[in-house]
């Protein structure tokens, strides 16, 4: 099962290596990892998306807790947190494809044009996973050339 795990950590060098080390030592691939400072510059929040056996992931979560630089761990398993990811996508631009590309961008509030060049157009997409997937599926046949994504970030819903 896919897990979204938020880890609140001390904003210090080496912390990222400690955390990724726990996953790599078990042969887990981290699907995405996003890190940034929080409301408090002393701390960073990391959002990890990992796929793996539930029991082993529970074990890894406990071991994350054990790291001295980890302040809090939340595995959003069984919950639907608010998630967002930012993508930059370069799509080839030809006379024929231009109207189609614009139509896709205009029909999804998640998508926006970030840059237009002679041969490519760069689209920025911010949204939840399934919407992003829909947009990418539409863009792909039009000549999707380069894709860069930040990885998901997540926060719980409501006042939690």
């Amino acid at each position: 099962m896919k897990h979204i795990i938020n880890v609140l950590v001390e904003n210090k060098p080496g912390v990222l290596a400690r955390i990724s080390g726990l996953f790599s030592a078990r042969g887990f691939n981290i699907e995405s990892l996003a890190v940034g400072e929080t409301e408090n510059p002393d701390t960073s929040r990391m959002t990890l998306v990992v796929e793996g056996d539930d029991r082993i992931l529970e074990q890894v979560t406990k071991q994350l807790h054990k790291l001295i630089d980890v302040i809090k761990v939340a595995d959003f398993v069984g919950e639907k947190p608010i998630t967002r990811e930012l993508l930059l996508v370069k799509v080839s631009l030809t006379k024929g494809t231009k109207p189609q590309i614009l139509q896709i961008v205009n029909s999804f509030p998640e998508a926006r044009i970030a840059d237009v060049g002679e041969k490519t157009i760069t689209i920025e997409i911010v949204g939840e996973e399934d919407r992003i997937k829909t947009i990418l599926d539409l863009l792909r046949p039009l000549g999707l050339k380069t894709l860069s994504r930040t990885g998901r970030i997540a926060l719980p819903r409501g006042s939690k």
Partner: protein, 557 residues
Amino acid sequence: MAKMIGAKILVESLIREKVEVIFGISGGAILPVFDVLYDAPIRFILTRHEQGAAHMADGYARATGRVGVCMATSGPGATNLTTGIATAHMDSIPIVAITGQVPTYLVGNDAFQEADVTGITRPITKHNFLVKDVKDLARTVKEAFHIASTGRPGPVLIDLPKDVQIKETEAEFPREVEIRGYKPTYFGHPGQIKKAVQMISKATRPVIYAGGGVIISGASKELIQLVEKTSIPVATTLMALGAFPENSPLSLGMLGMHGTEYANYAIMDCDLIIAIGARFDDRVTGSLDKFAPEAKIIHIDIDPSAIAKNVQVDIPIVGDVKNVLRELNKIVKKPAISGWLKQIGEWKKNHPLTYKRNGKLKPQYVVEKIYEVTKGEAIIATEVGQNQMWAAQYYQYTKPRTFLSSGGLGTMGYGFPASIGAKVGCPDRMVFDIAGDGSFQMNIQELATCVHNKIPVKVAIMNNGYLGLVRQWQELFYKKRYSAVSLAGNPDFVKVAEAYGAVGIKVEKEEEVVPALKKAISIDKPVVLDFLIEPEENVFPMVPAGAPLTEMLRGLA
């Protein structure tokens, strides 16, 4: 406030932590610290290899319960420490390792004798620090000792660049530490403890499975009380030898791969396991699928990640073992288990731990005599291999912190330096290293350390001319194809001892054993006893790796 250089702040901090001894070797990147140590009130024991220093700090910590300290220079000094650090990590032993590092402006430049020591030791320490600002140093040392010695203990490393060692600052020594991400749970949940009491009262075939956590937590007294109140028999792991007196009728001795038959029968047949400070290691459980099929499990441990790691647990209790047992003992009720105890008595009678005497020198006999001659009062360190298992099986441990062995990592070369560290920490105790001829040679150079520093440990080599445990596996599972296990080329250990200025005694016959041991004890010097034992003696019982615990191989015809 006085201005001090980093090296001085470090040493001052160590004094404040009541460090009485440091084991280690100097070098270019840690010279400023050694200059301050020159007139500091801390004993420095110069070892002959940094691995020895780390194991000495570890042996000191295991024997005394205090934090052991070792020190090395950057690069090769630090990498030589790593086996010792990993050994301490696997067995949750509190040590603080201090390493010199190249100056901060060279870090990452492949400078001379540079190694990424915090990177290398990240997975084998409980925590580590690279101190880049001298202002952080005093607090870092305080935190290092706190982290090493509390919660589930473990090694902590401080990497200290040379320029930080000579940088001056106003020294401020904190009294308290506050680490927001580090708050171990010390007290068990009262509701869980109540549930455990109920489960215990209903059990008909309960067993206590005690692990090294009992010793680390200092909870032997509480464990004995629990047994006095409930009459539940106790099996211990290798790491817990001495946590419960083995001369008690309710002791089952050690369980697991080379455990007693009755301990393994009891754990496999029981309806309740009370696991205390143990982690269901594969050497203990054998095949997990077939492990204790009818047992419910209560698991007490300070480390939540140790609970439910390998087995499903019915009642987890996170907390310090000593505190949890205290609370449990207040309300625990005795279960009705006379039938079970009778059954265990029969197993004990019918399947005792024995070996065959045939006039040749048997290692089991030697260990029994070490027990008798020392009246069970010695601290025993072991190497790794058959020697370790015989030391575990044939010496009766009755007190905690008397059996020092690398259980988790299984490090050959551990025992001798560990015995030196133990003797430094407990100078009034008799200290033996029960050794193998292979393992001893992995840190034999520390003979110089103990002779020069007058640390009179006794090394009892079970000299079989083989990497014996590996030979045993090859005999049993690889059709006796002995591949690279002969130690032909061994030195004459008596001469080696003498060359270092220690005393060497060779023993070839049973009747020489006791006189040789008595002589060794009477000499106030390091003594190497070279016991030429039967070369192909095996360790039994033995559960083959991955088999269920009931499938024990027995050696006796």
